[in-house]
Symmetry: C3
Subunit: 344 residues, 3 copies
C-alpha cells in the first residue's frame, strides 16, 4: 500500500514522498524498512532516532528527529490500531458447519451454530454448546461437556467426562484430563512392584478460561481438578491432579502446580515457578518467576526463590556478597588492632 493511501486511511497529514510502499506494522524497535510504526508514549521517543520504520504515526505537535516519514494524527495509538485490518493477518472466520470428515459418535448433543473442522473426532455422549468452534484434528472423548461459544484450536485432546464452561479458549495442543501421576510401590519377593493408582476423576473448567498451547491439566484421582472462571493460563504449563484453581488466577508459561495444591482468587503464578502439592497460595498472592513454593503463601504476599520466601527477604539475600565482603574487611581490621593491643 502506498504511503499516501495510508495517510488518507488514518486521516492524517504527511510531508514525505507518498509513493513509498508500506507493507507491515511493527513497534519502533522491531520495525524494518517498509514497516509503519507509531509513537504514542513519550517514553519511547528516543527510539525515533533508531527506528528503521519507513513511516511513523505521531501526534500533531511532535518535533523530534527521525529518518522515518512522519504521519501526524490526532491519536497515534488509535490510528495505528485502525490499520490492523489492512496490514494485520486476515482474521479467520469459522462459519457454522460440520466438515464432512469429522467423526461424530452416537448420542452426541450439538448446539446451534457450531463449527467442527476436518478430522475432528467427537465421541459418544459428548455435548457441545451453541456457537462453539472446534477446529480440525481435535479429539473429544466420551461424555465430555463443552459450553457455549468456546474455541478449541487444532490438536487439542479432552479425555472422557471432562467439563468445560462457556467461552473457553483452548489453544493448539492443550491436553485436558490426562491421568495424574500416581503409583503405589510394594516390595515383593522379586523386587519392587509398582501399581498404577486409578485416576477416575475429571477436570472441570469454568467460564471465560483461556489455556495456552501444549499446556496439560490432569484429571483428578477422584472428584475434580478444577480451573475456576476467568483463569488465564499460558503455554506449556503443568496442572497436576486435584489442583483447585479459584477464579481470576493467572499462570504464566512453563509454571507447574503439583497435585492437590489450591490457588486462591486473584493469585498470580509467574513463569517457570513451581508449586508443591497439597498447599495453598492464598488470595492475590504472587509467586515470582522460577520460585519454588514449599509452604502456604499468605494472602497478598509476593514470594521468590527456592524455597520461596517473601520477596523482601529474598532481596536481602542478594546483598550477601557485599555484606560478607564488608564483614571480612572489618574482621581483618580487628585482627590487626587486636595484634597491636596484644603487643602493647
Amino acid at each position: 500500500m502506498k504511503l499516501s493511501e495510508v495517510v488518507q486511511a488514518v486521516n492524517g497529514t504527511c510531508e514525505a514522498d507518498g509513493s513509498i510502499e508500506i507493507r507491515a506494522m511493527a513497534s519502533l524497535l522491531e520495525a524494518r524498512e517498509g514497516d509503519i510504526s507509531f509513537l504514542a508514549n513519550q517514553k519511547y521517543a528516543p527510539q525515533m532516532k533508531e527506528t528503521k520504520a519507513s513511516a511513523v504515526l505521531v501526534a500533531q505537535d511532535y518535533a523530534g528527529e527521525t529518518a522515518a516519514a512522519l504521519i501526524r494524527v490526532e491519536d497515534p495509538n488509535k490510528a495505528f490500531a485502525s490499520l490492523s485490518p489492512i496490514f494485520g493477518p486476515k482474521p479467520v472466520v469459522r462459519e457454522p458447519g460440520i466438515h464432512a470428515t469429522a467423526v461424530i459418535g452416537e448420542g452426541v448433543t450439538l448446539g446451534k451454530d457450531i463449527y467442527i473442522g476436518p478430522y475432528t473426532v467427537i465421541e459418544d455422549g459428548a455435548t457441545i454448546g451453541d456457537g462453539t468452534v472446534i477446529d480440525g484434528m481435535v479429539f473429544i472423548a466420551q461424555h465430555v461437556q463443552i459450553g457455549k461459544q468456546c474455541h478449541l484450536y487444532p490438536q487439542v485432546n479432552i479425555r472422557e467426562s471432562c467439563i468445560l464452561g462457556d467461552r473457553v479458549i483452548l489453544h493448539a495442543g492443550v491436553k485436558i484430563g490426562t491421568d495424574g501421576y500416581g503409583y503405589t510401590v510394594e516390595i515383593g519377593a522379586q523386587g519392587p512392584v509398582i501399581n498404577k493408582v486409578p485416576q477416575i476423576g475429571i477436570v472441570e473448567i469454568g467460564n471465560d478460561v483461556e489455556i495456552g498451547s501444549n499446556t496439560c491439566v490432569d484429571r483428578a484421582r477422584f472428584g475434580r481438578t478444577r480451573v475456576g472462571d476467568c483463569v488465564k493460563i499460558d503455554n506449556l504449563v503443568q496442572i497436576g491432579h486435584n489442583v483447585q484453581i479459584a477464579p481470576f488466577v493467572g499462570i504464566i508459561a512453563q509454571a507447574g502446580i503439583a497435585g492437590s495444591a489450591k490457588i486462591e482468587t486473584g493469585a498470580l503464578i509467574w513463569s517457570q515457578a513451581g508449586i508443591s502439592g497439597h498447599l495453598t497460595v492464598h488470595e492475590r498472592a504472587q509467586v515470582a518467576p522460577q520460585a519454588g513454593v514449599k509452604e502456604d503463601v499468605p494472602e497478598g504476599e509476593y514470594v521468590a526463590g527456592t524455597p520461596a520466601i517473601p520477596k523482601r527477604k529474598f532481596a536481602e539475600t542478594l546483598l550477601f556478597p557485599r555484606l560478607l565482603d564488608k564483614l571480612k574487611r572489618k574482621v581483618v581490621d580487628l585482627e590487626a588492632k587486636v595484634k597491636a593491643l596484644e603487643a602493647r
Copy 2:
C-alpha cells in the same frame, strides 16, 4: 442419586434426610454441595467442620461435629472406592477393531485384539502387539515396534524404527524419537556455518513404562536412547538423545535430562529439575524439585539447589541470613570492645 440409595449401596446407616441428591465424589476440602466425601484418616478429622460435602462416609464410632449428613460404614475408604462406578466418569472401553479411517501401511504386522482409532496412521513395516489400544490421531512411523497391551492416547507421534515394550502407556501428545539437538559449527569465509549432526539412532522403551502428556524423548545420535522397565514419567518432561534410564526410575513433571546422562535404578527426579549431559545419577538417588545437577549424584544421595549439592548442605545455606546477622552483631560488639581497649 438419592442419599438413601447411596446409603444402601455402601451398606451403611444414616440418620439424615435420605431424599437429598448426591451428584459427585470429592475429598473433604474440595467438596461442594451435592458431593459425597469420606473420612478414613483421623489426620483429616478437622476438615469435617469446613467441608461443604452434603454427605460424608465415616467409621461406625465417629463422633465429631459436621454439617454434612453422616453415613456410617465399616471401612470408609473401601466404601468410597465402591462408589466410583456410580459417580466417577464412565470408563472408556475400546473394543478390538480398526476404525475405517485408519491408514495402515504395507507390511504392517497387527497382533490379535487390537484397537485402532479414527484418523490414526501406521506406516509401512510397523508391528503392533496383541491387545494394544491405539487411540485416534496417533502417528506411528515406519518400522516402529510396539509390544502387547499398550495404550497410546490421541496425538502421540512415534518416529521411525523406535521400539516399545509391553504394557506401555503413552498419554496424549507424547513425542517419541524426535531428532536430538546436535550441530557442528564451522567458521567459514562468510561467517559461521551450522551443520546438523544426523540423529540416526532410535528410542527403546521397556515394559510397563508410563509417559505423561506432551513429554518428548529424543532418538539417539546413534544407538539408542533407553527408557527401562517400570519407568514412570510425568507430563512435559524432556529426555535428550542417548539418555539411559534404568528400570524403576520416576521423573516428575517438567524435569529435563540432557544428552547421554545416565539415571540408575530406583532414582527419582522431581519436578522442574535439570540433569546436565554425560553424567550419572546413581541408584536410588533423588534430585529435588528445580535442582540443577552438574556432577554425578552418589548412590542414595538426595541433592538440591543449582548447582545441586547434598540436601543437608543445601539446608545449611538457608540458615545463612541468620548466621550472617549473628556474625555481624558479634563484629560490632568486638569493634566496641577493641576501641575501649585501645583507649585504655
Copy 3:
C-alpha cells in the same frame, strides 16, 4: 549380521570368532551384548574394560585389554559411521505426492516436488514452496507461507498468516502462532473484568531454522514475533509474543523467553533458563541452565543464577559456605583474644 561380515564391510582385520551375531551400534558405555562400538578418542580407552559390546572398532595399534572382539581399522570413527546404513534405522524417504486424505483449501499455491501426508489440512490461501515435506496430521491455517525444502513433522500447527523461510524443520507437535498472553484488567462494579488483548500479529521464521518437539512460538500482539536465520531451538521451549531472535541463536530444551525480549546474534540460552520480557541478551552472550535473566546481558557475557549475574560472580557465591565458616572461626578467635586483653 555376522561379525566376519562386519569386518569385511569396514575393511578391517579381526582375530576373534567371526560367527558371532552383531545386531546394533552403541557407544562403549551404552553397548549391550550383540552391539558393535568404537574407540576413536583415547579419553574413552578406560571404558574398554567395562564395555559390554560384543565387538569394538579400534585403531591398528590399539593394545589395551577388553573382553570384546577387536576389529582393527584405519579410522575407527569413519568405520563406525559407515555402519549406520546397515544397523541404523532405515531412513524415511518421502516421495513427492499428496496423500488422498489431505484436505487442501482454495487458493493454495503448491510448489514442485511436495510431499503432503495423510490427514494433513492446508487451509485457504496458503503457499508451500518446492520440495517441502509436510507429514501427516499437520494443520496449516489460512494464508500461511512456507518456503522451500522445509520438513514439518506430524501434529505441527501453524496458525493463520505466519511465514516460514526455506529449509525450516519443525518437529512433531510444534505450535507456531498461538495467541500471546495478554489481558487488561478493569475493576468494575461487580469485581474485576478481564479483557483479552487481540493478538493480531504473526510469527516470521527465517531460513535454516530447526525447532524441537512441542515447542511453542506465540504470534505478535501486532507486527511480528521473529526467529532469525539459522536459529536452532530444542524441545518444549516457550517463545513469547513479539520476541525478536537474531540469526545463529541457540535455545536449549525447556527454556522460556518472555514477550518482546530481544536475543542478539550468536547468543546461547541453555536449558530451563528464563528471560524476562522487554530486555536484550546481547551478541554472543550465554545464559546458564536454569538462570533467570532480569536485566540486559552485555555482549559476550555468561550469566548464571536467579536473578542472573556474571558467571564469575555467581561462582563466588558458591564459596560463601566456606567463607562464612572461616569468618566465624576468626570471630570466635578474636572474641577469646579480646576477652584476654580485657582481663589484663
